[in-house]
Amino acid sequence: MSVNVGNLDAIAVDARQRISAAADEATLNQLRIDLLGKKGVLTGALRGLGSLPADQRSAAGARANALKTEIDQRLNARRQELEQNRLQGLADSEWVDVTFIPEAAVSRGHLHPLTQALTEITAIFSRLGYEVALGPEVEDDYHNFQALNIPEGHPARDEWDSFYLAQGGWLLRTHTSPVQIRFMEAHQPPIRIIAPGPVYRHEATDAGHESQFHQVEGLLVEEDIRMSDLVGTIEYFSRSMFGAERRIRISGDHFPFTEPSIGAAVSCGICQGTGCGSCKGGWLEIMGAGMVHPQVLRNGRIDPERYSGFAFGMGLDRIAMLKYNIADIRRLRESDVRFLRQF
């Protein structure tokens, strides 16, 4: 091809037209190759400059270089223009229905409500310096009853009807209280423990009663422990667990292994303590407690003259039921996921 200024003009016209018509980045990239690449039109024209007469060569050279710069600038400008357009049109071009969230997008299971309640209880008591202690679920009569001042034939045994193993004399613990004895047998005061775990009662089940449920026991033995310490501990626990606005009520009670014995109730969160269908006159019973009976301390090889302490026991199921508004205790162990996945 012969090269002249007119030729360059034609290239310029064609290039301008094609650049401004380019609709996307890929077309622009191709244009850059077509126009400015090694085998490009302008490159070819520049290469042809050598064949021009010397007088025309320098003018045509200048013209070609100017055109090269212009094309480069136009390509860049068009690129920016296209980018601008693209960004401005994002709302349409890349619209996504953000309200459609498929179930499988992320998946996480559910912790059982008893676990969640226990985690919270453990955290509350660990702030008060309690450790967690565990004991066997298959117990002997001594630890489950006798060491707790409940001898054979004691009327209180009726409250703790037991499952017995076919194998001689062993029973399923009816409460977590034997952990008190086992821990005291192995440790001298100061003692601060909570003992969570399953317990078993030989009785019929209904919405409020299970034959297999969980308890959390507490035991504190130190020097000069008073009932006010017990009351304060119950209050700290209850308000931490159920809400700072809650109040507690302490009433007389009877357990063979504590003296004095008390029952603790927390004000109802639904009626705020005035009385409603969900509570007993504004109060919800949450635990039994008392000062450890001196004989129980002795059974745990602890000197009651030197040390005193308190113990408490609560139904984990009941605490979870109150906390999560569960009406029927049997729901807790059915493993119906429609229930489990609410927590």
Binding site: L111, E131, H254, R338, L340
Partner: protein, 789 residues
């Protein structure tokens, strides 16, 4: 315990504010469960006296009674035959109301019946529909029957097991008097002349009887008890029977001491012997049932045979009837354990046994007999004759010494000394104070008070635990025994929940027939059985968590919730021989996953996901590597089960559940199960990761695809790769498995990713390629594998 407000008013002015009363009683330890106002639901019923009775012509069922209400007479047709002229009966006059029913004059076979005579049922006073309610002779004709049954407030109380003294109106009245600081009125009682011991009663088995008080009352006229007594008994749910029986019940409900009345003429030789029953001895009891006794039971017998099951129920033969004239009253103190055991063995709990089981004070019996004797004289014309009081080992009153300082320190609140003293005195304690020390003698009816702590409780519960401030104990404590297993459990749970498994809590008591459906080889081969199960399908302790979890999967599948993943951390009970404990309690982690029928092909992938979950738990919580081996286990699929090993020890299994087990559960599709001994993978101590240097030089990553045939576990390939890889091969991970028509039957293609790394230099491609080639050659040779790099 059911208590009548009217009855209580006999001993104390019951506060009018029932809310306050209820709250104070509840806080003091006697919970008021319910208060109900009881009022008769009739109008216009008056007392009438039967003047005469004559047949109603044409009827065999009814007769005509001519009655008077004091002014004038009326004829009333009645279907009852228990009445005789002279009886006082409730008479509903024409125009009167019984509940919703209007009573008018009605014609029976041509005879006008002016209203009707009423039974207890018709008046809503009891369940006795057999005949007309016969009132006592003291009921004045013309009296409005409403006035005989004044409105009453009935308290339903929960009395704690250590307070049998509160199973009595007098006991409750004493509590109220103490709580509200008001006077207590004790029932008037005459002193009793003690008769000659040994004539009327002897104790042959002192192990079962602490005290036996008897008194012979002669010349008794058996009849209905007065209306006021009947009203009180009815109010608390006791059916009036006759004046003698009612008086014994009345005294029990007043004082707490159960009593029995024998027809003295029916006792052989007129005396009783307290002894053990003869094995197999039979007795027809007051409820009409004949009971067979064991030699552990106590009886009150005459010289020939048992006449009452001691402390539980009387016998028919010597019971008081309308013909009785001489009554032997009994008030004894029975050994509580024996009563409890006998009541249990007979499956019979009575008002009497309930009280004796709790341990009554022997001090109650003599006053009770005196009170009953005095009521019998007053209401049945009986005269006290001889008596017996066999009491070989009299109660010695306890003396409890307590400092005021101790009292206040244990309670954590300062109780004003006069108030503490007042509380104890009102409760019947004798208090002797010298300076700051109290010497206290509990009332003889309170056997539950023996220690200073017991006295402190009495002061505390009456003073009000609500006065105790809230404090927290503080002391310097040594650091020790930080229990970590609980923390580990929490971390395991968090990981599994993060992987999408839901946590379940299932019952430890299970069905022995399914307890071994799936279990670990290490587990016991028989479950521990329960001697006294509550239900047939809860008769064994679980060996494994898996059967329960599979049942949960089946339940949820039935509830249209297929494809679940569940886990549980709980105890497995493995019976063990020759050890101090009969059971090894193993902390287990169970994981299950249901694979619905439509996705059955995913079962291998789901199994591998469960295996990976177990490995993740072990690595993150225990810092341990879990190796897997192709294995077999009870209840698992024979070709799809892995044994899991940590530190060379088998710690669990993961596998597909055997299809036969699923059929048994009626669970369609497939299921994956894993069971792990938790301590085996997470250890006892909490695991803390330790940092090692990150690589300074870039590594080289190469993928390797191996096609093999037959049941070659990838573990074997990995082992060879590791051997041949040398020290620069740092990590081998499994990428994917492929099976398909292109490979031909029985062939699998496995892809691995190999990570090469050196600590001191950048590895060259040539170096890595040499090793990689060595591995390829090795795999080809060892496994006849086709390898693509």
């Amino acid at each position: 315990m059911v208590v009548s407000g009217n009855w209580l008013n006999e001993y104390v002015d019951v506060p009018k504010d029932l809310t306050a009363l209820s709250e104070r009683l509840t806080l003091s330890g006697t919970e008021v469960e319910r208060i109900q106002v009881q009022e008769v639901d009739f109008d216009g019923v008056v007392v009438a006296e039967i003047k005469s009775l004559r047949p109603l012509t044409g009827s065999t069922k009814n007769q005509i009674a001519t009655v008077t209400t004091g002014d004038g007479i009326a004829d009333v047709v009645t279907g009852a035959w228990n009445i005789v002229p002279g009886n006082r009966v409730p008479y509903a006059i024409p125009g009167s109301r019984l509940g919703d029913r209007r009573i008018e004059t009605k014609i029976f076979l041509g005879v006008a019946s002016a209203g009707m005579l009423c039974s207890a049922v018709e008046l809503g006073l009891g369940d006795d529909a057999a005949g007309i309610l016969v009132l006592d002779e003291g009921a004045e004709p013309g009296t409005n029957v409403r006035d005989l049954y004044p409105p009453d407030t009935i308290f339903h109380l929960e009395v704690k097991s250590n307070r049998p003294d509160l199973l009595a109106h007098l006991g409750i009245a004493r509590e109220i008097a103490t709580l509200f600081r008001i006077p207590l009125r004790r029932p008037a009682m005459r002193d009793s002349a003690r008769g000659t011991t040994g004539r009327l009663a002897t104790i042959e088995a002192p192990e079962g009887c602490r005290r036996f008080v008897g008194k012979l009352i002669t010349g008794v006229r058996v009849g209905p008890s007065p209306v006021w007594m009947q009203a009180r008994l009815r109010a608390v749910g006791i059916r009036p029977i006759s004046n003698v029986v009612d008086i014994t019940n009345y005294v029990m409900l007043e004082s707490g001491q159960p009593m029995h009345a024998f027809d003295h003429s029916r006792l052989a030789q007129g005396r009783v012997i307290v002894r053990r029953a003869r094995q197999g001895e039979q007795l027809e009891c007051l409820d009409g049932q004949t009971r067979v006794l064991s030699s552990e039971a106590m009886v009150v017998a005459d010289s020939e045979r048992a006449q009452a099951v001691a402390g539980i129920i009387g016998g028919t033969a010597s019971s008081v009837t309308t013909r009785t004239t001489d009554v032997l009253l009994e008030a004894a103190t029975w050994e509580p354990r024996r009563i409890r055991a006998t009541a249990r063995a007979l499956g019979l709990r009575t008002e009497a046994s309930l009280r004796f089981e709790k341990g009554l004070s022997p001090a109650l019996s003599l006053p009770a007999v005196d009170r009953a004797a005095s009521l019998l004289k007053e209401l049945a014309g009986g005269n006290a004759s001889t008596g017996a009081d066999v009491y070989p080992d009299p109660l010695r009153p306890a003396r409890i010494v307590l400092t005021l300082e101790r009292l206040n320190r244990v309670l954590g609140v300062e109780v004003p000394t006069p108030q503490a003293e007042d509380i104890l005195k009102r409760l019947g304690f004798v208090v002797d104070r010298s300076n700051s020390q109290l010497t206290v003698t509990p009332p003889e009816f309170r056997l539950d008070c023996a220690l200073p702590e017991d006295v402190i409780e009495e002061v505390g519960r009456i003073y009000g635990y609500g006065h105790i401030p809230s404090t927290l104990p503080g002391s310097r404590r040594p650091l020790r025994d930080i229990y970590r297993a609980q923390d580990a459990d929490e971390r395991v749970r968090e990981i599994l929940v993060g992987l999408g498994f839901d946590e379940a809590v299932t019952y430890p008591l299970t069905d022995r027939r399914h307890a071994l459906d799936v279990r670990l080889p290490a587990a016991a081969s028989t479950p521990a059985l329960i001697q006294n199960p509550v239900a047939e399908d809860r008769d064994a302790l679980r060996v494994s968590l898996v059967p329960g979890l599979l049942q949960a999967l089946a339940l949820n599948a039935r509830l249209d919730q297929p494809g679940l993943g569940l886990f549980e951390i709980g105890t497995g009970f493995w019976p063990q021989a020759a050890s101090t404990a009969p059971i090894r309690e193993v902390r287990l982690l169970g994981i299950v996953r249901h694979v619905p029928p439509a996705l059955a092909g995913n079962a291998p992938a789901e199994l591998r996901a469960v295996e990976a979950a177990v490995r993740l738990v072990a690595e993150r919580v225990g810092g341990r590597t879990v190796d897997v081996r192709q294995s077999e286990g009870l209840g698992f699929h024979p070709g799809r089960t892995a044994a899991m090993l940590a530190q060379g020890t088998e710690v669990g299994m993961a596998g597909e559940v055997h299809p036969a087990v699923l059929t048994g559960l009626d669970l369609a599709g497939r299921a994956i199960a894993a069971e792990i001994i938790l301590t085996g993978v997470v250890g006892d101590e909490s695991y803390t990761p330790k940092q090692s240097p990150v690589p300074r030089y870039p590594g080289v990553r190469r993928d390797l695809t191996v096609v093999i045939r037959g049941k070659i576990p990838s573990n074997d390939l990995v082992q060879v790769i590791r051997q041949l890889g040398g020290y620069t091969l740092r990590d081998i991970s499994m990428l994917s498995e492929y099976q398909g028509p292109q490979l031909g039957a029985g062939a699998r293609s496995l892809s691995f990713r190999l990570q090469y790394q050196a600590d001191d230099r950048t590895l060259t491609n040539e170096e890595v390629s040499t090793v990689q080639q060595r591995i390829i050659d090795g795999l080809k040779q060892r496994f006849d594998a086709e390898v693509r790099s």
